[in-house]
């Protein structure tokens, strides 16, 4: 057991209430009131009276050799307690999710602008910042490698990395780091005839810019040195145990001495899968013997986490004159930036699902992830599927136009359904209502046109209250898109979660405590955990314990997987607890176990109602279980074939967009979404995920981009990295379908990512219809529409 250490204010507490809500109900969140009132403590609210503040000195250059670092001037600043460089990292100098290629602090070379070089701890953040500015780093500045295709095209020239990085347990088995070039991973998908020909062929090239997760709570945490020589880290993150593994390696400490607790997380979307300040704060705390808090400001946050991979893609679709897809060939290039992060897995997704939810007999896809000196890219909601969806859905529209077919008809004709083969040789073995999702959208009424001229309400116009049009130049377009996405971790990864469930009577009231390490990042897993426990144990009062490493790994809060996998683990642990309680009751009453159930705080049967207090007395029944979904397999490295994905989620969107064709400004009038969720555990939260995912997809389609030139970020702030406001994100029509997946707990499907994937492509389709322009790059800018 850990040595008890003082806990900071702002550390998480047990969440209870608000009571009620089983699987399938609109359950209220236990953290909802706190958040709405502004009382919820986020990572940036952590506080200890004697804490120091840590700051990071980052590289101003995208690519440079470090000739020397002189920390003397910083150490001389009064109030400074420590200045650390890579020399002070006691364990492994590098870390990473899949390849341990990223230095904890730069070693000899910096490979992207913003790479951490040194750390300072001081008694005031301003003092720490001033001291950091006095660290003298002598750089020999090199020409950065900034184009993914060029980086791959010159295997012996300008290598971003000199040495091969060790792979981690998370690495894709088929991921090979090219020993002599900038290739992180190449996925090949080969199905059918590589030279197939067709009557009608459309070719397109597409580009997707770099999106940021733009979570509102910047990277924050507090490291507290413990009496056993270890460290307690309170941190806002997505996967405590994968952080723990990497921190232990860097600190050279066993897991018992590195204990993590989830601090309040203000959004994640993939941006917290990689480490940010985790090791840094621990190093400073262990070095100074004082608690150390690190909290990035907005600008630093843009340099402190990975972004969504920019993509360049070339697609060729061949079809018969009747509109049956004959072949798809695609080359997809993803810019992974300076370090691998989750690039191998993103390449896996983009490659295997890169042609969309369509049945195609002949598929030839090459998907590459490259190292460059651009900002590192990794996980973000939709994970490789977002980029390709812009391309394959634009291709479907282009093909429909070429065939003179309705774009929805063409999609339905080629839509995947249960039993369909995928390009990777899997058979879709649960409902896949792609055509139904589209048809339902088509059947929805279209929104009316707004009033124009003197009666115009500016909020309904492209440009909004900026008063750029009263209807002049405005044309409406309607576009459809459909997407699918793997749920949970793929390609043979041992994807599991652990749940500890305890049932006892507290103050006369039966109480369940659910303890998992599954990160609540705002999505509502804490509610789902409560609902499952209430449903399985018939007890209303369910307490969610703080998320920490005192219990086994829950896996990542990503890949739309936690309701499925941690939900599955909680369900299984509840079942084990229930079995023991019913056995006790059977022993007490003499009733056969098979006749007994748990209901409303009692053991019941026909003519029996035995309160749990009588069954349990002062005892607690506790079970801890590891739960895994059915196994997947690695992809064949030459053909990309294999049972790689455990489940697919499907969503479709219809976008209605008014375009001021003269000014290139937009008003998305309505977004409609249909999604199959298998089973809506918390319907209200499902709708929230669909709305949020849709908004984030819309953002990428029309405004969100980290602008990088020569390896430098030009807009690291919310002044110029724009995300949609309430006047940009319209009201939605949403239909949630529930076709159970027989392999999943309650039949549920992961929800969070699918709506993020189809939303943007639908918006693009609508803009293309309104303007008649090909618009092959996202985000679409006014310049693209006005061609200025």
């Amino acid at each position: 057991m850990s040595t008890p250490t003082r806990s900071p204010s702002g550390a998480p507490s047990h969440l209870t209430g608000p009571g009620g809500g089983r699987v399938g109900d609109d359950a209220a969140r236990p953290d909802g009131v706190l958040k709405v009132r502004g009382e919820f403590a986020y990572g940036s609210d952590l506080w200890m009276d004697d804490m120091l503040w840590g700051v990071t000195l980052r590289s101003p250059h995208p690519y440079a050799r470090i000739r020397s670092v002189d920390v003397g001037p910083a150490l001389a600043v009064p109030g400074v307690h420590a200045v650390l460089t890579s020399d002070d990292v006691p364990g492994s100098k590098t870390y990473g999710l899949e390849l341990a290629d990223q230095p904890v602090l730069a070693v000899d070379v910096v490979r992207y602008q913003g790479e951490p070089v040194a750390l300072v701890a001081a008694d005031h953040p301003e003092t720490a910042r001033r001291a950091a500015a006095r660290i003298a780093v002598d750089y020999e500045v090199w020409e950065p490698v900034t184009d993914a295709r060029e980086a791959l095209g010159h295997p012996h020239w300008n290598r971003v990395h000199e040495t091969e990085a060790p792979v981690t347990e998370l690495s894709r088995e088929s991921a090979h780091l090219h020993p002599e070039g900038n290739l992180v991973r190449h996925v090949k998908v080969r199905k059918g005839d590589p030279d197939a020909t067709a009557d009608v062929v459309v070719v397109g090239e597409y580009e997707v810019g770099m999106q940021d997760q733009a979570f509102l709570g910047p990277e924050s945490g507090l490291a507290v040195p413990a009496e056993d020589g270890g460290v307690e880290l309170y941190v806002a993150t997505q996967w405590l145990h994968v952080d723990q593994r990497q921190i232990c390696a860097a600190l050279g400490m066993p897991p018992e001495r590195v204990r993590l607790t989830l601090a309040g997380v203000g959004g994640a979307f993939g941006g917290r899968e990689d480490l940010s300040m985790h090791v840094h704060a621990c190093l400073l705390a262990l070095h100074t013997g004082r608690p150390v808090k690190m909290s990035y400001n907005r600008e630093e946050s843009f340099f402190g986490h990975v972004h969504r991979h920019p993509a360049t893609m070339r697609y060729e679709h061949g079809a018969t004159r009747d509109g049956d897809l004959v072949y798809v060939r695609a080359q997809i290039y993803l810019d992974g930036g300076a370090y691998a992060s989750s690039t191998p897995a993103v390449v896996g997704n983009a490659g295997t699902m890169g042609i969309g939810p369509y049945v195609v007999p002949n598929v030839h896809v090459d998907c590459y992830g490259a190292y460059t000196n651009n900002p590192p890219c990794g996980a973000m909601r939709g994970f490789g599927s977002v980029q390709t969806a812009f391309a394959y859905e634009a291709q479907m529209d282009a093909l429909a136009a070429e065939l003179g077919m309705d774009p929805v008809e063409l999609r339905c004709r080629n839509a995947m359904e249960q039993g369909s083969p995928t390009p990777t040789g899997q058979v879709v073995d649960s409902p896949a209502p792609v055509a139904e999702l589209l048809r339902r959208l088509q059947a929805m009424p279209l929104p009316p046109s707004p009033a124009t001229g003197a009666d115009a309400d500016l909020r309904d116009m492209p440009g909004g209250v900026s008063n750029t049009t009263h209807g002049e130049g405005v044309r409406r377009g309607v576009g459809y898109a459909v997407a699918y996405k793997n749920v949970a971790f793929s390609e043979g990864f041992d994807d599991h979660s652990t749940a500890r469930v305890r049932l006892e009577v507290v103050g006369g009231e039966p109480t369940v405590t659910v303890h998992t390490a599954a990160a609540e990042v705002g999505q509502g897993l804490v509610t789902v955990e409560q609902q499952i426990a209430r449903t399985e144990l018939g007890v209303d009062r369910v307490v969610v314990a703080p998320k920490d490493t005192a219990v086994g790994s829950a896996g990542s809060t990503s890949a739309s997987r936690q309701t499925y996998v941690t939900g599955g683990a909680v369900k299984a642990a509840c079942e084990a607890v229930r079995a023991r309680v019913l056995e006790r009751a059977a022993a007490l009453t003499g009733w056969p176990v098979g006749d007994l159930r748990l209901f409303d705080g009692a053991v019941v049967a026909e003519g029996l109602q035995l309160p749990l207090a009588e069954v349990l007395g002062d005892d607690a029944v506790e079970e801890t279980l590891e739960w895994r979904h059915r196994p997947t397999e690695a992809l064949d490295p030459e053909t990309g074939q294999g049972f790689a994905h455990v489940q697919y989620a499907f969503a479709a969107h219809r976008a209605v967009v008014d375009v001021d064709t003269e000014l290139g400004l937009l008003k998305v009038v309505e977004m409609a979404c249909t999604q199959d969720v298998g089973k809506a555990i918390n319907p209200q939260a499902v709708v929230g995920q669909i709305q949020g995912g849709t908004a984030q997809g819309l953002g990428l389609a029309v405004m969100e981009e980290v602008l990088v030139r020569d390896g430098r970020v030009r807009n690291p702030s919310f002044t110029d990295y724009l995300i949609p406001t309430v006047l940009d994100m319209p009201p939605m029509r949403i239909e949630v379908l529930e076709y159970a997946d027989p392999h999943a707990p309650y039949g549920l499907r992961g929800v969070g990512e699918a709506p993020n994937i189809s939303s943007g492509p639908a918006v693009l389709a609508a803009i293309r219809q309104a303007t008649g322009l090909p618009l092959t790059r996202v985000p679409v800018r006014p310049e693209h529409i006005t061609r200025t």
């Binding site: 209250v465 900026s466 750029t468 003269e662 029309v702 406001t725 006047l727 006014p782 310049e783």
Partner: protein
């Protein structure tokens, strides 16, 4: 850091004279952003929010004197009829929170080429009233902007007010941003028709190192309207188009993260044409506004 909080205008002006390095703070919506980004570490802040004179507006000889510290929300709520162009510009600024705090005085002193008050003030021929212990002077707004984020304000001076003659004709304001609210202008245009003087006022934002007028466009349009003020006849589309071109011709934009120079020029021509069309339609309906 020293925090200076004068409670009267005299005290404010004297404090500024005693500490020319003191950074005035009104709504703080520019100052605090600079502080939070570490770009500004003032030795002294001069808080102007307790100076009652700055928070007021009144009318003198038909001219509105708008205190430098009146927030945008009040410009919209209280002066929409007297200062329609400025109120329209204010409506495009930031979010409700920013409009509750941000002030015209702050916008002027920041003198960003993207500040939204400027094109409206230029079109309306406003004057900036600045003051120091040395006295008060009135600067025609067109002379106030001297460079990128530079103004005619001396180190010991404060902005006291802006003076704007309420319009004798329609005013319009139009701004391009790449989202539909809370956005810094990619380009902006302010227009005022002055039937009493048979003149036209213009203001261009975000398309030159400073906010500026488009004099050739103003002259051209005043000439074209010469015969039309009284007849209130329809405006030939070619006139509006030519006006748009001349406005665009007055710009000297750059490419930056927010937009390309070419787009800015194009957008200005469209905004100028459209706003003129709206303003003239309003004028033809006889909806001239009188002070």
């Amino acid at each position: 850091m020293e925090f200076l909080q004068p409670t009267t205008w005299e005290e404010a002006v004297e404090t500024k004279a005693a500490h020319p390095d003191a950074v005035p703070i009104a709504g703080g919506t520019d100052v605090m952003v600079a502080v939070n980004f570490g770009r500004l570490r003032p030795a002294r802040l001069l808080d102007l929010t307790r100076v009652p004179d700055l928070q007021q507006w009144d009318t003198e000889d038909g001219v509105v004197r708008l205190g430098a510290g009146v927030p945008y929300a009040r410009v919209i709520g209280e002066l929409g009829d007297r200062l329609p162009g400025l109120a329209m510009a204010a409506r495009t600024i930031g979010s409700p929170q920013i409009r509750n705090r941000g002030t015209v005085g702050g916008n002027l002193a920041t003198a960003s080429p993207a500040g939204d008050a400027h094109p409206a003030l230029l079109a309306a021929d406003a004057e900036v009233e600045v003051a120091s212990v040395r006295g008060t002077r009135r600067i025609p707004v067109a002379d106030f902007y001297t460079g990128v984020k530079r103004s005619a304000l001396a180190d010991d001076e404060l902005v006291a007010a802006v003076r704007i003659t309420p319009p004798s004709g329609p005013q319009q304001y139009s701004k391009i941003g790449t989202r539909n609210a809370m956005v810094i202008a990619v380009a902006a245009f302010g227009l005022a028709l002055h039937p009493d003087r048979r003149a036209v006022g213009t203001g261009i934002g975000s398309a030159a190192p400073t906010p500026r007028r488009a004099p050739a466009a103003e002259e051209f349009l005043a000439g074209e309207l010469d015969g039309l003020w009284d007849s209130r006849a329809e405006l030939p589309p070619a006139t509006a188009a030519r006006f748009g071109e001349l406005v665009a011709g007055a710009a000297a934009p750059i490419d930056d993260v927010r937009g390309t120079a070419r787009y800015r020029v194009h957008a200005l021509s469209v905004m100028a044409r459209r706003t003129l069309t709206w303003a003239w339609a309003e004028y033809r309906k006889g909806e001239t506004r009188c002070a």
